[in-house]
Subunit: 204 residues, 2 copies
Amino acid sequence: MTPETLSRREQNKAATRDAIVSAVLSLARERGLGGFTVEDIADSAGVSRRTFFNYFTSPEEAIAAPTFGFLDRALEQLRDRPPGEPLLESALTVILGLADNELIAPMAESFLVAHGHDPVTRYQLQAFEECGEKIVAAIRERDEAGTLDDLYVQALAGSVISCGKAALEVWLAEARGDLSPSSLTRLRELLTAAITHLKAGFAQ
Amino acid sequence: MTPETLSRREQNKAATRDAIVSAVLSLARERGLGGFTVEDIADSAGVSRRTFFNYFTSPEEAIAAPTFGFLDRALEQLRDRPPGEPLLESALTVILGLADNELIAPMAESFLVAHGHDPVTRYQLQAFEECGEKIVAAIRERDEAGTLDDLYVQALAGSVISCGKAALEVWLAEARGDLSPSSLTRLRELLTAAITHLKAGFAQ
DNA sequence: GCTGATGTTGCACGGAGTGCAAGTTTGCAC
DNA sequence: GTGCAAACTTGCACTCCGTGCAACATCAGC
């Protein structure tokens, strides 16, 4: 996955970006959301206030960054699934593959810190929304014949996202921050159950 | 529905609120989003800048207000459905009842103006999210026996919202701003089709 | 009318977010 | 390595946002 093909510039940018995200998450943990300014974040990340705004337009966006990153990864994996596979099968495979320690930890952190704070939650919701739009685009790529109408694709993508989000929220409420293997197994169970409900049309 | 039980104070507040929402939508139509300041909104609504902030914390929130209002109305209607009715039946009935000129026009306006502008879109998404949470609460009220688990309820509520949103988006893309009876009939068709897809587990 | 409660307004202040014009670092060709 | 162009960082200045506060205006109830 393009490990060493990053130029110095790109390495520096990634490092700066990571430093900012780490800084804002630390400050949010220590002082709570709203308990610090952009200048505090910049100082803590070792950059200028102006540079912070070169990367993010607000502290909220920086806090939600891990969620965007996580969902972008999900999309990459969806594009790699065989085109003939049933859509909900692809979705489940991708989702289960992402319930992995390395990938999910930063997003879980972001979610837990953001919990109950509208300004950050709005960015999280945007991340899921954008992911839904990209799923629509990915389905369109598969469906070369053009047999699927807009409504079907959009409703399906939105429902899959909703099920994934529901499983995540239930899991985070159950095991706040516990990323142990057994906890992640539980997350996979929840994800599978949610997609199963969807496949069954929520018949009770 | 409590038509004349509004005190003078409440009438004034409602009028001020409406004036602000109208003003911000007018300005957005004329100058585009971002082409005006809070002071412009306040002047246009005949109110002070400070008063604007007594009602909304940002122009974006004011623009999205009709969407919040619309979804609140949806919730009221859901609570009025008979408790024994299957959930997806209730959802469909409520949704179809709301596809009505009076109710949907302000939200359609809000959506069209907001289209493609992230800051406002985030508020719209929050409105749908809050509506989903309230649906969860409403389902819980019905389910006195407590037979439904969190995952099922949250996934269902989210999926219903997603289907409603998908139908709305497809409709708005098809008939931008056309609120004629035939157009609203088309919206009802889309809503019914989306819920039908959901009931069928998106089987093709 | 009097009175408390509720709303509105102006003022002031810290902070957000951005354009601009430096200065600094990196990539690339010679 | 020297030089140059592109990309990145930084400081500065500016407008606008969002809110606490205190004074003023309006409304409900007696």
